[in-house]
């Protein structure tokens, strides 16, 4: 039986804007197993990114539980969370969020450095990761010299640097053309199988819905149709 890499239980996030209370995530519960690709869909402002931020331990929930590889992250203090992100989570962003002054290789290397891998070993591992995403011949390119698809591949290579149990992707195809977007989705799908990672993708892209194992539909912060909205 596949184990749960992440468990979300009765999660709630309330923002206080002026005197108004905004419920961004409301009583959301679901699990994601290893090797599973889950798409989180929903209209703008439905709480998708907030949910992703809480799962990624960069935003604290108002209430509820986030359990990553059996660790109750919601009970941990602020200073311990970077370590959790470092060990278990890889992020992929719509805007790629690469460091413009660093080459593709260095962008991946930084992530390895944060995991304590340094020097020659970090360089070699970064190169292998870039080769894996098809960028072996672009290692010394700065982000400004790469296409959108190539940037996203660097971002994916960076996310894989710690062999994460969970990959959280925010609109990974949002800035890419159709063909490039498709190849990125295939790459993520392939990685989830090979690495046994749980891939959670926040998206508006229907192609991702077709390639995911499950789709969670979020509206006004609540999961519509429960945690098993669609099975592949």
């Amino acid at each position: 039986m596949e184990e749960n890499n992440i468990e979300v239980k009765r999660l709630k996030k309330i923002y206080h804007e002026a005197s108004v209370e905004v419920i961004a995530v409301d009583d959301v519960s679901f699990n994601v197993k290893s090797g599973e690709v889950v798409a989180v869909m929903g209209p703008s402002g439905s709480g998708k990114t907030t949910l992703l931020s809480i799962m990624g331990c960069i935003l604290r929930p108002t209430s509820g539980e986030v359990i990553i590889k059996g660790i109750k992250t919601h009970e941990m203090d602020e200073h311990s969370l970077p370590e959790i992100r470092n060990r278990y989570i890889g992020f992929i962003f719509q805007a790629f969020n690469l460091f413009p002054a660093l080459t593709a290789l260095e962008n991946v290397e930084v992530s390895l450095n944060l995991k304590g891998i340094k020097g020659k070993r970090a360089k070699e591992e970064a190169k292998q990761l870039l080769e894996r995403v098809g960028l072996g011949d672009r290692v010394d390119f700065l982000p400004m010299d790469l296409s959108g698809g190539q940037k996203q591949r660097v971002s994916i290579a960076r996310a894989l640097a710690n062999r994460p149990s969970i990959i959280l992707a925010d609109e990974p195809t949002g800035n890419l053309d159709s063909k490039t977007g498709h190849s990125v989705i295939e790459l993520l799908r392939d990685l989830s199988v090979k690495e046994k990672s749980s891939v959670i993708i926040v998206t508006h892209d229907n192609r991702i819905m077709d390639m995911s194992d499950r789709v969670l539909y979020l509206e006004d912060g609540r999961l519509k149709n429960g945690a098993n909205s669609k099975k592949r």
Binding site: T50, I58, E83, R85, R87, F93, L102, S111
Partner: protein, 375 residues
């Protein structure tokens, strides 16, 4: 390990150059102000600091070396009788005028010393000997006086206070604070040249003490015996002279204020550029946090940027200062950069750049995590 700080700095070359200009400007300004001040101060007490005596006796309330008044020279007898005094000499400093070679006159400071003991005589002799002032109206001048007095050589005759004198020695690097050249001569000749002092008066009494005795006790004894004068150790009189020019004339405060402004300008420029850079790289810091960097990692990046700016800016500033010193010396003035100043300004530059980055640190550590998801 990849240095994001250095990569970011060198990636944005224009910003980097602007920051370096700011740091360099500050470093040069601080070096120049403090260096010129120290140069002035060295000249202000140059005779006191280079005269091998322990105690200076002056007229009452003498504010500094250059403005001393005469007092009865008979007091030297009381000084010599005081316990702990090994040797006492009369010493004159008087203002006079010297005719220029090309016509016209310049003010000079006439120093009269005992050529037999040599106490209070010139040092750094380039030509001639300090004892050569004996046996006539002989003077020793510093080579720096050529700017004011015109070219002179050993054996040249000049006119001081309408009296002919002969140049028998040339020194190097003995410049007065007032810019009036020093003229060293024998005590008797000095009295003859500056007759307004009076035959029975002296301007200073210089005292050598018994090393076995406590110098402060000797000063107290002299103060008790010699009424109507002030008694200082050499260090005290040197400090009193420097204090006068630094504080009482406000000159030191002027230098200090300008040096402080250099420091403040540096903080503002470096702070502003590092802050702008931090704002522009906020998403990158957010991303770093998302991929597992803690606040310490972010601090290190910002501090490393500050330190790189400080070190490079300091080195450039120091090199420029060396050229400045050479240029300044050509004007006949001194800019002194002692080793302690080199080290102090380096740490001051580091402090300036690091403190300038604190606002950025606050900004970077308060990043809204959601920034990483914004397009």
């Amino acid at each position: 390990m990849v240095s994001i700080a250095r990569k970011n700095l060198f990636h944005d070359k224009i910003r980097f150059i602007i920051t370096l200009i700011g740091v360099t400007f500050s470093v040069v300004l601080i070096f120049a102000q403090v260096g010129i001040y120290l140069g002035f101060m060295q000249n202000a007490s140059i005779v006191i600091d280079n005269t091998d005596v322990d105690i200076w006796i002056t007229s009452k309330n003498t504010p500094n070396f250059d403005w001393a008044q005469a007092f009865p020279e008979t007091k030297i007898n009381l000084a010599r009788e005081t316990k702990g005094v090994l040797h006492a000499e009369k010493f004159i400093l008087a203002w006079g005028v010297m005719k220029r070679k090309e016509g016209g006159t310049e003010q000079v400071e006439i120093i009269g010393y005992n050529p037999n003991s040599g106490i209070g005589g010139p040092w750094n002799m380039k030509e001639g000997r300090a004892s050569d002032v004996k046996g006539g109206k002989h003077i020793i001048m510093d080579e720096s006086a050529e700017k004011k007095m015109g070219e002179f050589h050993i054996g040249d005759e000049r006119e001081v206070m309408n009296q002919k004198v002969k140049v028998i020695g040339i020194t190097k690097g003995i410049k007065s604070f007032t810019t009036a050249p020093f003229i060293f001569t024998s005590y008797d000749t000095a009295k003859g040249l500056a007759s307004y002092i009076g035959q029975d008066s002296t301007v200073f009494i210089l005292v050598k003490t018994d090393p076995a005795e406590n110098i402060h006790e000797i000063v107290q004894r002299l103060n008790e015996r010699l009424k109507g004068v002030d008694v200082y150790t050499s260090r005290q009189f040197s400090n009193r002279t420097r204090w006068y020019w630094t504080v009482e004339t406000g000159m030191g405060m002027g230098f200090l204020m300008t040096a402080f402004m250099g420091f403040a300008i540096g903080i503002v420029i470096v702070g502003q550029t590092i802050y702008t850079s931090t704002i522009e790289h906020l998403r990158e810091y957010g991303t770093l946090k998302a991929i597992g960097a803690n606040n310490l990692f972010i601090y290190k990046i910002i501090f490393e940027q500050a330190i790189v700016n400080a070190v490079i800016g300091y080195i450039v500033g120091f090199v420029i200062t060396q050229f400045l010193i050479k240029g300044y010396e050509k004007t006949g003035l001194a800019m002194i950069i002692p080793n302690y100043l080199i080290v102090s300004v380096f740490f001051l530059t580091l402090l300036m750049c690091i403190s300038a980055s604190f606002i950025s640190i606050r900004k970077a550590t308060k990043i809204d995590p959601a920034i990483v998801f914004k397009v």
